[in-house]
Symmetry: C2
Subunit: 357 residues, 2 copies
Amino acid sequence: MNSLPAGATIGILGGGQLGRMLSVAASRLSYKTHIFEPAENCPAADVAHCVTTAPYSDLDALRAFAASVDVITYEFENIPTEALDALEALRPIRPNRRALAISQDRMAEKDFLTGLGLTCAPYARASDMASLTTAAAQIGLPAILKTTRLGYDGKGQARIKTEADMPAALAAMNGAEAVLEGFISFDREVSVIAARGLDGSVAAYDPGENVHQDGILRTTTVPARLSPSLRSDAVLIAARILNALDYVGVMGVELFVSPQGLLVNEIAPRVHNSGHWTQNGCAVDQFEQHIRAVAGLPLGDGSRHSDVVMENLIGDDMARVPDILREGHAALHLYGKGAARAGRKMGHVNRVIPAKA
Amino acid sequence: MNSLPAGATIGILGGGQLGRMLSVAASRLSYKTHIFEPAENCPAADVAHCVTTAPYSDLDALRAFAASVDVITYEFENIPTEALDALEALRPIRPNRRALAISQDRMAEKDFLTGLGLTCAPYARASDMASLTTAAAQIGLPAILKTTRLGYDGKGQARIKTEADMPAALAAMNGAEAVLEGFISFDREVSVIAARGLDGSVAAYDPGENVHQDGILRTTTVPARLSPSLRSDAVLIAARILNALDYVGVMGVELFVSPQGLLVNEIAPRVHNSGHWTQNGCAVDQFEQHIRAVAGLPLGDGSRHSDVVMENLIGDDMARVPDILREGHAALHLYGKGAARAGRKMGHVNRVIPAKA
């Protein structure tokens, strides 16, 4: 396998908290990082070897960035196509374009997943009142209307309880393409953080159980309450997705546990908030696993040494930091962001459950 | 307690692997770091917000460094006095000058420790043939001659088995002040990594058991084989030293376990190689503990969630990295150094022992 030598530089598109933690993981494997990020004073800048601050429309800056690195990866999926075109001509991008294209578009993602024989919530395109009416008749109400692109953390979504909600929901899409998703009844949400190496090997961490609030992840608990057979199913679903995409890197796969089995909610072609627990539950965390994959190193086996409850620190949660600092077995991970605005992810805490307690 | 606000900058003297890991720990607490290091391309540069490359004799560079940071700490004890004078006038230095002065001089250190009522191996100043002969008569042979200053990892030391070895041993000191230490019979060496906060609180990690080879630490195993009463003694010894120095930060205290009880070998006023296991055995590792102390934050309680065996990767050990990457529960920490010279610390691996195995 053609692995990056020690001292090589990994380019990372995006300098948020995920880029920051990827950069730290790269350092443990003797790699340097170069961050490309439009915003000034990004979180990753504190722990990166090099930072370029420029918009994704600056093709000269992108080309200089690509020329300075050995491989390119990213911390978020909404990278403009023109930027990827410029970069791909110069350096390998891992994970690949197809994974990005699919995860950038909810319709394409659902078509891809159902095409693999996996189950999703019922869905249909709904971009105007006519198609929305047809979709609602097909799927039933209540349902949820989501933009096909650029939605995250509950943004770009509108609930439709009755037909009377349709005009407002459509207006909330701001003219963007949208997809109507049926509500499904599920017991809990779990996610699998899985990785595929350059050699095609796959490794997965134990599934985590997620609790959301206002559309934002609050906690992930590992191990999840899952039967052994569902646990195995969850990992096999993730592996099928990774292999179908000839994927290289870490992916987050969100699943609903329903009476009918596992449904795929969505996939993220990157390290994932629900995998932060691995920093304190595993010798090789998801960030290092991703760096290993894109660098062509052998993957860690995903084994877990400790149970963990991860809690996101969002906005005002930062007021609890002084108390968290005094807790035993609480590992704090702050992102170095300035203002603690409502809904802004400022950090997380991994509470390790000692097996010997 | 007057703690540094998030976003503040911690200045670190020295950009080796300890500075590198301190910088990563600072980022988790939302602090930036500024590294001052004479050598180009130092390991800490990959993960620091800012680096100054200048000699310790460059007082202008030191003053600019101090002006850019909120507090100053260090990763090694042999900082020239003139540099400290320039820095101390501008910003607090933690740990303080007294701890540095004592640990820079083996004689002063031993006098300090025995003055506290602690036990060390027998020692006497021996700077020329006359004083060496007197010292040998007093302590007995075999013994070991060590420079009082600037020795580490077995450098600046010479064994004296018989009087015939004395001239060569003295010559090996290159005219430097030296101290003769008697050999003592001990079962094992352990070390305590302890911290003292700005508020005077003390916290210690469980003692680790160290194995050296050619004067360099090879492995640290936690927990150490120690009776409960010796474990308690070890922690109390460390606390006595920290309190006597009005110390702020992490200190490494090396102890010999002898039939007569615990003897203090030496102290290091900084994070210590024998504390690297805390990165994967504790929620708050020694690097974060040190940053918490110098930043005026509450200390972590030192609790351990997992047993760990830390192995240093020295020189040719790097050839084993591909195998280590394939091990389960092995956390690799490489330092980003270029050439793997003999005796050079290139990284370490923490092997976590899962309690559920």
